[in-house]
């Protein structure tokens, strides 16, 4: 089986599995306990926090460990909204956010907040001008994802961050779940106040995520209790998960430094192969490097049910997704592709291929050959 669904989740790195097992076995103390076992677990937690902070280029005190990217996004949006509800009631986000932001924004609307959902162009990107125009006196937060989970579209985060510096009361949240370790990311340099990550997209464990909270930003904590994570996220710390996440962050940054062109090379190869199908295969991901992160490639085959093609390719040994794994069970057009192209058939037939650092050019060639075989059959059958 060739796994080409790294945007859904990633196979854990063997070294991460080892570290999680060891941490779980040896450092079982509760970091809040006063005895030796507690102190040791506390040291593990502290060092993991430092490793994570270093990988992200921020201070250890700015890292809050959570249970997932979804929790990080909820903590950021609701945390800001609830904390500053007396200052304003307006939030700016986009039409192409992951449900873990999009649905949270919808919830906040039910609670009386008003939300602007910015449109995107055919590359799936918002315009920094639109962001600036959407700001109001009562705007609390701008939340924009870095890399889109369905198409890889790369939002102009640095430029938006630069412009938001002129609005010091507006906080800037970035969902970087799909981007960290794959494309350049600079929270400090880009003026980001809050940033979400999750472990399992980085070959780390599931059940652990992270929220970067810039020093000076206050959030209303979603989870009240024992006051762990600087009071921002109560609950006994998931020490083994946190160790795994920190280690995965370090390892993926090393891979990123060692193989800066890896994904771009794979994407060029895949896109060249898809182009050979002419207008029977529509490339949904923008092609240019500055417009998309190259580890995600989305395309539509109008007229072919994507699930059918997906299963055919699985028979050939290739695992991929339709839309995002989180919403692939619903028979609806993709909200993201709709926002980009406004074409329902195209938005209903999207297929997503996503690479990891382990993916090779041979895997891409094999995938293209499998597609050639099975899609030709399907197209002939449809005509027949």
């Amino acid at each position: 089986m060739i796994y080409l669904d790294h945007a859904a989740t990633t196979p854990p790195h063997p070294d991460v599995v080892k570290a999680v097992t060891e941490a779980m076995t040896r450092f079982y103390g509760n970091p809040s306990s006063l005895h030796k076992a507690g102190a040791e677990a506390g040291r593990v937690l502290q060092q993991a926090r430092e490793v994570a902070a270093r990988a992200l280029g921020v201070s250890p005190g700015e890292i809050v460990f959570t249970s997932s990217g979804t929790e990080s996004n909820n903590a950021a949006l609701k945390g800001v909204a609830f904390q500053y509800r007396d200052r304003g009631r307006h939030i700016v986000t986009t039409m192409v956010e992951h449900p873990a932001v999009y649905r949270v924004a919808k919830q906040l609307e039910e609670l009386g907040f008003s939300v602007t959902y910015l449109p995107v162009d055919r590359t799936g990107r918002v315009s920094p001008d639109d962001v600036e125009r959407a700001l109001r006196d009562d705007t609390l937060l701008v939340s924009i994802m870095h890399v889109n989970n369905e198409t890889g579209s790369l939002q102009p985060i640095a430029e938006i961050g630069r412009r938001l510096k002129r609005y010091p009361k507006v906080l800037f949240h970035v969902d970087a779940v799909q981007s960290f370790g794959k494309v350049p990311l600079d929270p400090k340099g880009w003026g980001i106040d809050l940033l979400s990550l999750t472990g399992h997209k980085l070959r780390g464990p599931r059940g652990v995520g992270l929220l970067y909270v810039r020093e000076g930003v206050t959030l209303f904590p979603l989870l009240a209790g024992g006051g762990q994570e600087g009071g921002l996220r109560s609950g006994t710390e998931n020490v083994p998960g946190i160790v795994g996440m920190a280690k995965a962050m370090r390892l993926i940054r090393e891979e990123q430094a060692a193989k800066p062109d890896h994904f771009a090379r794979l994407k060029r190869r895949l896109v060249a192969g898809l182009r050979a199908w002419g207008d029977r295969v529509l490339l949904n991901s923008p092609e240019r490097d500055e417009e998309a992160a190259p580890h995600i490639v989305n395309f539509s085959v109008p007229g072919i049910k994507p699930e059918v093609l997906l299963h055919a390719l699985e028979e050939e040994g290739y695992l991929l997704s339709t839309k995002s794994a989180c919403s692939s069970k619903k028979d609806e057009p993709s909200r993201v592709l709709m926002a980009m192209f406004g074409d329902e058939e195209r938005a209903r037939t999207g297929i997503r291929v996503s690479f990891g650092y382990e993916t090779t050019e041979r895997d891409v060639d094999g995938f293209l050959a499998a597609l050639e075989k099975r899609l030709s059959e399907l197209l002939a059958w449809m005509k027949g």
Binding site: A19, E22, L34, G38, V44, V243, K247
Partner: protein
């Protein structure tokens, strides 16, 4: 831009004669120590500078270390070329093109210490500047206020080109000023005092008073972490951990509560002086500043200081709390210091401490205690450990 070398500058003006040789020697050793774990990297002396040959090591990682080496005034990442005009011109162009954001104006500032190089500095300015201008767009020369000044140094071992000069931390190289023993609590002040002593070039050792079970394992771990941070500036640090429970208990039993802290601190000074003598340290250092808390009034400092003859340095005495906190944040000790574990100075705090203690009265009250015996016993049971931020423990290996 891939840099080949880093040019390191140090304070030459303040130094004369024999001192200078010692200063340079020490600084070289300290820079080597700070960069010791980068394979393939070399450090050497070169004409009143130090030169780091980077090999494959990224400049950013080296810069982070150099920012903590006291004695460095500034440093510049540079490209090195052979002593040929064409090579210099090409490197200048590549360097200018690599800059982001792209500058709009620049000037070339050439210097040569190789007098037989076929072009004078003045000629070089023009030859290099013209080459860059011919091969770029939207870039002009401004000799008065350029966005970028491109330095070209022609030296016997090659031409060095650079556009940036980063400030070093200044101060004196650690190791040129003798040894000092720092009283290190878990608080915000004492690590800052230690850092300021390191900046004056001292070799630092630290002493901590541990009152287990009244203070926790975490409190000691916090002190170790603080010492580890200080070791980033001054190399591995010896930490002397004094078992202090016995003395604190005795004080509590035999001394009126209001004088408890004064007498506790007098014990600390005596023990620290004993350890300093053993370790050949020439002074003690503390994080005390004037008038912050009861134990830091002038009367209190006087009463506490009376029991020792060794000099007691108080580098924070002229700083206020805000300045101290700012420094603690900048040097990376603040986040550790605010961890909420009690240390021996915060436990047993009396409700009404004596703010103006009297030395005679303190001495009188100490008659109730076998002072010399308690001090000697604590010194004998003191344990020494070495802390180095680079030392990898089992947890670091896990991560």
């Amino acid at each position: 831009m891939r840099y080949d070398v880093v040019l390191l500058r140090y304070g030459e003006l303040a130094l004369k004669g024999k001192n200078r040789g010692q200063f340079e020697h020490r600084l070289l050793a300290n820079v080597r120590q700070a960069l010791a774990d980068f394979p393939g990297l070399r450090v050497r002396r070169a004409y009143g500078r130090l030169l780091v040959e980077l090999g494959d090591v990224p400049f950013a990682e080296v810069a982070e270390r150099l920012e903590r080496v006291f004695g460095l005034v500034s440093f510049s990442p540079a490209v090195r070329t052979p002593l040929e005009l064409a090579a210099i011109q090409e490197a200048a162009l590549a360097l200018m093109r690599s800059l982001s954001p792209a500058p709009r104006t620049f000037k070339v500032a050439a210097r040569r210490s190789v007098k037989n190089f076929p072009h004078t500095s003045h000629e070089l300015n023009h030859l290099v500047g013209a080459h860059v201008l011919r091969n770029t767009e939207n870039l002009t020369v401004d000799v008065h206020e350029p966005d970028v000044e491109l330095a070209v140094e022609v030296r016997p071992e090659g031409a060095f080109l650079y556009v940036e000069s980063r400030p070093g931390p200044g101060g004196l190289p650690v190791g040129v000023s003798g040894k000092v023993l720092l009283l290190l609590s878990g608080g915000i002040d004492s690590p800052v005092a230690g850092w300021r002593m390191l900046k004056r070039g001292v070799t630092l050792e630290a002493i901590h008073f541990h009152s287990y079970p009244f203070t926790s394992e975490q409190a000691l771990e916090k002190v170790r972490d603080l010492a580890r941070v200080l070791s980033r500036y001054g190399g591995p640090i010896r930490l002397h951990v004094v078992p202090f429970t016995e003395i604190q208990t005795r004080i509590r039993q035999h001394v009126p509560e209001a004088y408890g802290i004064t007498i506790m601190r007098r014990f600390m000074m005596r023990i620290a002086q004993g350890i300093a003598e053993k370790r050949r340290a020439l002074a003690l250092a503390t994080g005390e500043s004037l008038g912050q808390v009861a134990s830091q009034t002038l009367e209190s400092l006087n009463t506490i200081n009376r029991v020792v003859t060794i000099p007691v340095l108080r580098p924070l005495v002229g700083m206020d709390k805000a300045e101290i906190m700012e420094t603690a944040k900048a040097i990376g000790t603040y986040e550790i210091s605010i961890r909420p574990y009690e240390d021996c100075c915060t436990i047993f705090v009396p409700k009404n401490p004596k703010t103006k203690p009297d030395p005679e009265e303190a001495a009188e009250l100490e008659q109730a205690l076998p002072v010399d015996e308690l001090v000697a016993d604590a010194i004998a049971r003191t344990e020494m450990e070495t802390l180095d931020w680079r030392a990898r423990d089992e947890i670091a290996d896990l991560l």
